[in-house]
């Protein structure tokens, strides 16, 4: 992060490609110019600038272990994301970050890790998974449960199918309903989680997904014996400055951009339901 936290690094858009078959999600790979580098951990985010349109926050989908290319997967929704989707490879945009706290990866050492993801919220979970796999022996069992509405909406499909083949990792992929050619799990993430019933012993769970998925996943985790301080989730709210100044992303006295976006359920239990 720069001395002036509001000034983005100029960033070259090296590659961009559709990530989902409905063209709503696109992955962007950036390289910071002028030799700039940022140190980050999985779960942190950046503000991407499309100059003239504005900035918007996105979780970093690459892992710091992958080198200096920063990767983001973005849903086309508003002013900035639409402009981003329209940006051509080779254009210069701005990146400000890393922002936020990130996942407590240090705590995961020597423990089991359960990653539960839904829809296009798998971005920082990808970062986390790649990060963990990079020093695989530091962690015990790693389980991934990831679902989307359709097979074509699963992010990073090729990587997922490769990870599925590994024997040091359990990957369970699911889609909401039957789909021609789909022979993996069918069902919503909470149901699949319940069926899979991973052990909560010495296990940290990291959950990211649409609010409705989170709502139904958390009780399942509780039933499986996960303690609130062992379950982490990443929150979203409208953000602007990303450094806890502009005001809008607070939940009680905490700012998602600065004190989050990652919170344990134990931390969230202390905060008002204002999200």
């Amino acid at each position: 992060m720069r001395g002036n936290p509001y000034i983005p690094y100029p960033a070259l858009l090296k590659r961009s490609y559709f990530e989902s078959d409905d063209f709503s999600l696109k992955t962007f790979e950036f390289e910071l110019l002028d030799g700039n580098r940022i140190d980050y951990i999985p779960g942190q985010f950046c503000e991407i600038s499309v100059f003239g349109k504005g900035e918007a926050p996105f979780g970093i989908a690459s892992s710091p272990t992958e080198g200096h290319i920063l990767k983001f997967t973005v849903n086309k929704a508003g002013l900035v994301t639409t402009a981003l989707h329209e940006a051509e490879e080779g254009s210069i945009l701005g990146i400000r970050g890393p922002l936020g706290n990130g996942y407590p990866v240090e705590k995961f050492r020597g423990k089991n890790v359960l990653i539960v993801g839904g829809g296009f919220a798998f971005t920082t979970l990808r970062s986390l998974l790649v990060y963990l796999l990079n020093s695989r022996s530091d962690y015990e069992e790693i389980t991934v449960i990831y679902g989307a509405r359709t097979p074509g909406l699963l992010l990073y499909r090729e990587e997922l199918f490769e990870w599925e083949k590994r024997d040091d990792l359990k990957v369970i992929l699911t889609v909401d309903r039957e789909f021609p050619g789909w022979e993996k799990q069918v069902g919503f993430v909470p149901q699949v989680l319940e069926r899979t019933a991973p052990s909560s012993k010495d296990c940290y769970a990291v959950v990211c997904g649409p609010p409705i998925m989170i709502k139904f996943t958390l009780p399942v985790l509780e039933k499986l014996g996960f303690k609130p301080e062992m379950v982490y989730t990443s929150l979203e709210k409208r953000m602007k400055c990303g450094i806890g100044k502009c005001g809008r992303c607070n939940i009680g006295p905490k700012y998602i951009c600065k004190d989050g976006p990652v919170f344990s359920l134990a931390q969230l239990a202390e905060l008002p339901e204002d999200y």
């Binding site: 504005g54 508003g78 002013l79 639409t82």
Partner: protein, 312 residues
């Protein structure tokens, strides 16, 4: 002096004819009645009406959707209700209209300015406002200190109320637009200067928009980022755009209650715009907004003999 009103409200509430009565109560500042919702019969004791009521109470009806409510209104507020009904924002059957007499709404900011020091209490005595404060006691003739909008009011009394509280009202025959006529006679350069002087004070707090019962859109053009109609910041062209586009949206829909002007924390004379609209609608189409709930919106209907001479 509010006994008749309070008795009426108390009765409506205790008989269960309505769930609440919407009106005004004494505020915490001198010369300032505050919007109030009486929900129990005993709360009817707090209800008041008169020149110290600054907002247009019809604004609050949107907060009462689904409730059986009675609302205490002056002429302009009852016309607002008609407009809301014609724009399908309100069902006539959902509200019981209690009409109260109106002598005009006070231009509070002008008294504060003319008095100078801090005013600590105020009361109405006959046709005067008596204020007391750091500069002693002073009396102001109410008629000289009513809102500019009230000066050109043709309908001070509620239209077709369910219940009418009797009392002295303004004379609706004496519509005075002399100040607007003065502006109409200005050269374009003078007009520009005049409006810039007023509107450049704007801090975009949108009190004028939020207090307006007809500004009920869920999303306002000024907040849109696709496309950007008005840029952020305080460039005069953006401030002017906001106010002028807002006025376009108000043509034929504005009852010229003056609530926006009284709401402005910077004291911008917004009535120069609303009253010009009112005057033009009357002169061009012989149209007065909100006279009946059946009336179609003025700019939503077309008549072959509509005036065309303003079309360039």
């Amino acid at each position: 002096m509010f006994e008749k009103l309070r008795e009426t409200a108390r009765e409506l509430l205790s008989k269960g004819e309505v769930e609440c009565v919407l009106g005004f109560a004494e505020g915490t500042l001198p010369m300032f009645y505050t919007p109030y919702l009486a929900r129990k019969p005993e709360e009817a004791e707090k209800l008041v009406y008169g020149p110290f009521a600054a907002p247009n109470i019809a604004t609050y009806l949107r907060k009462l959707k689904g409730k059986k409510a009675a609302v205490i209104v002056r002429g302009c507020e009852s016309r607002t209700i008609n407009l809301l009904i014609s724009e399908k924002q309100l069902n006539r059957d959902d509200v019981k209209i209690i009409g109260v007499p109106c002598v005009g709404a006070l231009d509070r900011k002008r008294i504060l300015k003319d008095y100078g020091g801090e005013i600590r209490e105020a009361r109405i005595e006959g046709e005067k406002v008596i204020v007391k404060g750091d500069n002693g006691e002073k009396a102001y003739v109410l008629e000289e200190y009513i809102s500019p909008s009230c000066r050109s009011c043709l309908y001070p009394e509620a239209i077709d109320p369910d219940i009418k509280i009797e009392g002295p009202s303004r004379d609706g025959e004496k519509a005075d637009f002399s100040d607007i006529e003065r502006i109409e006679k200005m050269s374009p350069a003078e007009k520009w200067e005049f409006f810039e002087k007023e509107l450049s004070k704007c801090i975009r707090c949108y009190a004028c928009r939020e207090i307006c019962p007809m500004c009920y859109c869920d999303s306002c053009f000024v907040d849109s980022n696709r496309p950007v109609w008005v840029e952020p910041g305080f460039d005069y062209s953006d401030i002017l755009s906001f106010h002028l586009i807002k006025m376009y949206h108000m043509a034929g829909r504005c009852v010229d209650c003056g609530a926006c002007e009284r709401a402005c924390p910077l004291g911008i004379r917004l009535s120069f715009l609303t009253r010009k609209l009112t005057k033009d609608m009357k002169e061009a189409y012989n149209f007065v907004s909100g006279l009946s709930p059946e009336e179609k919106p003025a700019l939503g209907v077309f008549s072959p003999d509509d005036r065309e001479d303003f079309i360039l």
